[in-house]
Structure formats: structure tokens, C-alpha cells
């Protein structure tokens, strides 16, 4: 054989072999905590959701670039009155236990999600919105709704609506929580409690098969330890890089620090049921007194984005509304109009969690000092997270919070989820997430219309108006959208950090040494 051909053949073989070897390695991902449950409707926290989303699939998918596209559904149609949604399911798909994916399975899962016995936190996604699930034939399902519900497709992309094997759920009972069976690209392999969950590639996957054979999700609570794992190569990916470690990690050639937006918006809400925040001038004054750019730059180390709407970009319904410019003089004038001045300064308490959101207490401190510059005397109080949630969820007459920090992740990618529960007057605490007791009848009407509107352009326009009203009423001091900072070793390519705080490894692969 010709020497040259032999050389190229050998080289090709070696490359092929090294590529094949690279793909059989296990991709190791360090998360902050161990999953709590691997049963999709009960997987409420991000680490659980991340693991589960590799094993089970939803009817629709919320893509990282913000679109809702069919996944387990081949196509769908709405009736002309928009009260019936017909889902035509993909055929020929099997669950990991070999049973068929069909309309009965979908019905079983969606009814299970809303059942009181399961007590899923996400039952509200469909409960009351869908009144009946009718199996038309083996792969067609009809959803009947008492009134049109525009975000229904977005809600069917939410992780808790994933379709899991009914046979496995019936067979395993409570044991199913440790043993998920879905249709996804990876199969559950084992769970070492408190240590890791390991998944193995589903060789019979109906879609594009992943390149990497095994995934291992480690539970590492301490951030410094997570970073050390990536630095030593004992993990390939680590979430939540602390701002102070970003520079050191970025300086290492083998590590890439990736900065991804999140659908989570951070804000202070004002308790408008009480003085002083029942006065819109005061609320506007606070908004003008906060320098958002400075907070993002110096407190978050650049890992955030000043809010210009109550929801984040990438969510359906988002339009840039604008942000209150930093203007201490205007803030002082507004305060003076409301009757506050140097003789009678505005005093109140800011509540902030400590450790729930990125640099939360530091943000509160920055706001406190910026408020001091316009003559406002605010003191900060912090509570442990459980107590904090309980205190902020008290009804109007017992709610002691005046101005309090919270964050909201619009994880369905639809503005309804990010606006209705937070601003509609029916959703005031403790009935919903409107914890500042904000009420505007005009806004209520628009949010209701947007729920039942049929035309996406019309919805978009309604949300634009809604957000403009919210901006004018200033029920919040708008702050910023969080960013997710993730450390990824360069030998991994195609790893996705989804804005809904999910890590996706299905399209990831290991680079061979020649590609690096």
C-alpha cells in the first residue's frame, strides 16, 4: 500500500477512535443542590428540573431563543371559538419502559398534574383552565376550556406538564419519584442520594440522539468547591459562579465563563395599601432615586441587565417600555410635592432576603445609600427565606412589609405568567403574588383580554399597553434581570444554559484534542 494513503488512513482512524472515545466519556455537571424529586410535576426547583428535563419531554418546547414549538405534538389546532385545543401527537414514540406514548398517556399525566392528591405546586397551570381531556383516538387528544386561554401552549411547555410513563407511575407508586420514565434523550440510571444522579443515553430515542453517552449531575452546595471541581477537571460544568471568582476562572485557558440571561426579574414592590406608598409620587421618587446602572455594574459585577419592563426580554409579550432615569433632583421634587422634606424626612423599612438572589442584600444596601442621597431614611431588615415568604404573603391588614425585594421567573416564556399573577387585583396576597396590593381596573381589564385574545399581535399590543400602565403607576421599584454565570470547560461544546434556569446537555459533545 502506498505510504501516503497508509499515513492518512491511520491518522483518520486515530482521529475517529479518539472522537469515539471522547464521546463515551461522562459529562459531569456540578449543581448547587441534589434534586428533591425526579417526578416532573413535583420537580419545582431548578436542579430537579434540569435533571428531569433530560429524561422526560413536554408536548411543546420553550426554546432558548424564546419560541414555543411543538415537541411531542406533531401539530395542533384550535376551534374557531378558541375553546377547544386538539393535539395530534407524534406516532411511534415509546417510553423508556417500552410502553407506548399515546393520547391516554397524555390525558393521564395532565389529569394527574391537577389532582389534589398529588398536590403539585404547578397545578394552577391547567386547573380551572382546562375542564376536560378527551381522547379522540390513539394519538389525538382534545382539551376543552371553559373560556379561551391564550397561554395554554406556553403552559404545556412548562416542565411540570411533562408526559411520563403511566405504567411506571402506577407500578412504582411513590418509588417513581426516584425512578423517572419518560420519552427523552436520556434514561434514568441511578441516584446516589446527596451525591449525584446519573443518566444514560436512550439508544432508541425518537429524535436526534445525543453525542454524549452519560451525564452525571453532582450536588455541591459550596460555590468555592464547585469552582475547584471545574478547575481540576473533576466536573465539566459548574453553575452560579460567584462574582468574585469570575476573573480568576476566566483567566484559565481551559475554562470558559458563560454569561446567559435569565427570565428572572428582580424588583422591590411597594405596599400600596399603606402610607407612604399609597402615593404614586413617592413611588416614582424612589424609582428616580435608584441608579440601576450603577447597581448592575458595581454590585452585580456586570452580571445583570437594568429592567426596562416588568418582564425580561425573550418572553412573549415583552416590549421595551423604558426605565425611570436616575434623577435625584426630580426625586427630591416629587418627595417635596408629597410633603416630605428635610424637616419631615421620609422614613421606612426595606425588606430584603439574604442569599436568595444574586447579591440581594448588597443591592438593598446600595439602594439604601442612594435613597439617603435624596434625603430618604430607610433601614434594612432581612429575614430568613421561609419567614420572608410567609411575612410577605400576609393579607392586607396584617402585612407589615413596606418595600420588599422579590424576584420572579417567567418560566413559561409568556407574559401572562409574569404579569397576571403579579399585578391583577384579584391576585392580591394571600390569593396570589400581588403582594403590594396594587389595583388598577383598567389594567385588570387588559390583562383579562390578553388571556383570551386569539391573535398573537393583538396580545402583544395588549401587553404593551399593560406594561405601560404598570410603568406609570410604579407599583414596583424596577431593578434588573439576573444573569446566569456558568463555568464550562472548553473540551465541552454545544452545552446550553436556558434562560429558565435549566442546563441542557442533549446537544453537547466533547471536543477532541485537535479541535481545541
Amino acid at each position: 500500500m502506498n505510504m501516503r494513503i497508509r499515513f492518512w488512513l491511520t491518522l483518520g482512524l486515530v482521529l475517529l477512535l479518539s472522537w469515539a472515545l471522547a464521546q463515551t466519556r461522562t459529562l459531569i455537571i456540578a449543581q448547587g443542590t441534589d434534586p428533591t424529586s425526579l417526578d416532573a410535576p413535583l420537580a419545582t426547583d431548578s436542579p430537579s428540573g434540569t435533571v428531569v428535563s433530560h429524561v422526560v419531554e413536554t408536548l411543546f418546547e420553550y426554546t432558548p431563543d424564546g419560541k414555543i414549538v411543538p415537541l411531542l405534538v406533531e401539530r395542533y389546532s384550535f376551534s374557531s371559538d378558541r375553546k377547544t385545543l386538539t393535539l395530534f401527537l407524534r406516532k411511534g414514540i415509546k417510553f423508556h419502559d417500552g410502553t407506548d406514548f399515546n393520547a391516554e398517556a397524555v390525558k393521564f399525566n395532565l389529569e394527574r398534574l391537577i389532582s389534589p392528591e398529588l398536590a403539585s405546586s404547578f397545578a394552577f397551570l391547567l386547573r380551572g383552565r382546562v375542564s376536560a381531556f378527551e381522547v379522540v383516538d390513539s394519538h389525538t387528544l382534545r382539551l376543552r376550556m371553559p373560556e379561551p386561554f391564550a397561554p395554554v401552549l406556553a403552559h404545556l411547555s412548562h416542565g411540570s406538564t411533562a408526559i411520563q410513563s403511566p405504567a411506571a407511575i402506577r407500578r412504582l407508586g411513590t418509588g417513581y419519584r426516584d425512578n423517572p420514565v419518560g420519552t427523552g434523550p436520556y434514561k434514568f440510571d441511578r441516584w446516589q442520594k446527596g451525591q449525584f444522579v446519573e443518566l444514560v443515553r436512550n439508544e432508541e430515542y425518537w429524535g436526534k440522539k445525543p453525542a454524549i453517552e452519560r451525564l452525571r449531575f453532582l450536588a455541591v452546595p459550596e460555590a468555592t468547591t464547585r469552582m475547584a471541581l471545574v478547575e481540576t477537571g473533576q466536573a465539566h460544568v459548574a453553575v452560579r459562579v460567584p462574582p468574585q471568582d469570575v476573573q480568576r476562572l476566566s483567566a484559565r485557558p481551559e475554562i470558559e465563563v458563560v454569561n446567559t440571561p435569565s427570565v428572572r426579574t428582580i424588583f422591590f414592590y411597594f405596599n400600596q395599601a399603606k402610607k407612604p406608598f399609597d402615593d404614586v409620587r413617592v413611588r416614582k421618587a424612589i424609582n428616580h432615586a435608584i441608579n440601576k446602572e450603577e447597581i448592575v455594574k458595581f454590585v452585580l459585577g456586570g452580571f445583570g441587565r437594568p429592567s426596562d419592563a416588568p418582564i425580561s426580554p425573550g418572553i412573549f409579550g415583552y416590549t421595551k417600555i423604558g426605565s425611570y432615569e436616575y434623577n435625584p433632583n426630580l426625586a427630591r421634587q416629587l418627595l417635596a410635592q408629597a410633603g416630605y422634606n428635610a424637616q419631615n424626612p421620609l422614613r421606612f423599612t426595606i425588606h430584603s432576603p439574604n442569599g436568595r438572589y444574586l447579591q440581594d442584600i448588597r443591592v438593598a444596601e446600595a439602594v439604601q445609600s442612594q435613597l439617603r442621597a435624596v434625603g430618604v431614611q430607610a433601614q434594612i431588615q432581612t429575614l430568613e427565606w421561609g419567614a420572608y415568604l410567609a411575612a410577605s404573603n400576609q393579607p392586607r391588614d396584617r402585612n407589615e412589609f413596606q418595600m420588599a425585594m422579590l424576584g420572579w421567573g417567567t418560566v413559561t416564556g409568556d407574559a401572562d405568567y409574569g404579569l397576571f399573577g403579579l399585578f391583577h387585583s384579584s391576585q392580591q396576597a394571600p390569593n396570589g403574588f400581588n403582594r403590594g396590593f396594587y389595583a388598577n381596573p383598567r389594567l385588570d381589564r387588559i390583562l383579562e383580554q390578553a388571556r383570551v385574545a386569539t391573535n398573537p399581535q393583538a396580545r402583544q399590543q395588549l401587553y404593551r399597553t399593560a406594561m405601560q400602565i404598570i410603568y406609570n403607576d410604579a407599583p414596583w421599584a424596577f431593578l434588573h434581570s439576573e444573569q446566569q454565570v456558568t463555568a464550562i470547560r472548553r473540551e465541552v461544546q454545544g452545552f446550553i444554559v436556558h434562560p429558565i434556569e435549566r442546563l441542557i446537555a442533549t446537544q453537547a459533545s466533547f471536543r477532541t484534542s485537535s479541535q481545541r
Partner: protein
Amino acid sequence: MTTYIFRRLLTVIPTLLGVLLAVFLMVRLAPGDPAQLLAGEFATPETLADIRQRFGLDQPWYTQLGLYTLNVLQGDLGESVRTRKPVTYELSQYFPNTLRLTLGAMLVALLIGIPAGIIAAIRPGTIFDLLAMLGALIGVSMPVFWFGLMAILIFSVQLGWFPVAGTGTLRHLILPAITLGIGTAAILARMTRSAMLEVLSQDYIRTARAKGVAGRVVIFKHALRNALIPVVTITGLQFGGLLEGAVITETVFAWPGIGQLLVGSILARDYPVVQGAVLLIAVAFILINLIVDLLYGAIDPRIRYD
């Protein structure tokens, strides 16, 4: 002896009931609702009601306490609110790891602490004594958290000798065991030193020396055995302390033990798991104390149990 053990075991029952009652009331007095935490920021009132009903949290506290006590007596510790698995299952997944870590730390403490104390005592005022006591001072003053992170940065990241975190092999155990054991080692060293010094000044030691017994025999056979009694007491107490101290070490080294489980459960107001874990630690503590008391008899023939 048997009667003694039996009597001691009988006193365990009221102790455990007391622990149970105290923990039960404490977790419920803390603000924050488990249903709210479980449902998160998204909670709707219906969801909260579902969850409360599912876990019996809508019942008055005395009903809950009664039911809980009855179940515990039958060996049922309830179901975790967070993971929705039986608490006994959760504990069985985590406790063996804590036991391994604690035993490793105890070994580290004994291997460093007692020899250091002996050397310091037989050469008081020398450079050995000074170094041992300086080491002990540093050992007790060093925050566990900081020490653990430094150990990771130096021995795992820089030198690459040990894995950063996790469990599995003996090499995984070394750094966490040293981190957890170093404080106890320091206490044991100081304790051993002062006990040894006291014994060494006793008349019978002088007599033994005067009779011409070899120095090594005096130290190990006559002095050490008598000096060990307070050391054993402290070791027993420290062992219980290590079970608690594991909380921090386990977090730093991502060690899946009862400490990690307990912290996570407290933050999530996972009442059944918190109660179960505290009960388990209480049982371990009581058993260790019993073992320590029995050990006295083995070390010191003057102590008898009737």
C-alpha cells in the same frame, strides 16, 4: 453490669420523648410555612391548601404531635415534605456517610492529639511542648469552613493529591476527616498533656521511677493508663460534637451526610426530616455516652457497675 446497662437503656426512653417534644415544638415555632416553601413563590391558595392537607399540616399542633408520637413508637418517622419519601429512607441514605466521616475524623483526632499531648507532657517547656501547644492553639482557633476551603485549594487544586469533593474512595475521606478532626485533635492534645502532667507528678510514678522501672514503661503502663480517663470522657463528648460539626464540613466537601440533609430540611421547613434527623443524632449521642461509661470500667478497675 447487665442490670446497669439495662437501667441506663430505660432512662433513654424519657430522654428521647423529651427530645421529640422539644424538636417538635421548636420547628413549629419557627416562622415560615412548609407548604409555602414547597410551593415557592408561585403558590396559589388552593395549592397551599392541597399541600397542607396532604401532610396533615392543617391539623392543630397537638393532634399532629399525638399522631407523630404514635407513629414514631411504631418506627414510622413520617414522610418528607420536600422529597415525599419516608424519613427513615432519607436517614438511611445519609447517616452511614456521616458515621464514616465522623469515625475518620475521630481517628485523625486520636492519632494526632494523644501522641502530641504525651510528647508535650514528658518534655514540658521544651520546643516539642511549645510546638505541640502552638499547634493545638491554631487547631482550636481555626474556623472549620476556612480550613476546609484552604485544604481544597492547596491539596486538591494546586497539588492535585486528593479529589475536591464527593465520596467513594479512601482518598475522598482524607481531607474532610482532617478538616473535621483537627479541632478535636487540638482539644485532645491539651487534655492529654494536662492529665499526663498531673499523673506524672504523683507519688506512685516517683516510686516506680525510684524502683528503676524503665522510663518507657512508666510513661505508657503507669502514667498513660491513669491519664486516659478524662481523655476518654472528652473523646466521647467530642464524638457527639463531631456529629454536629459535620454540618459545615459536609457542606464544604459536598459530603452527603446527615448534616447536609438537616440544613436543607431546616431551610425548607421539612418538619418530619428535621425531627427524624435530630432524634437520630440524639440516639447516637446517648449510645456514645453509654459506651464511654462502660469503657471507664475497662480502663480503671476501681470503677465497677453493680
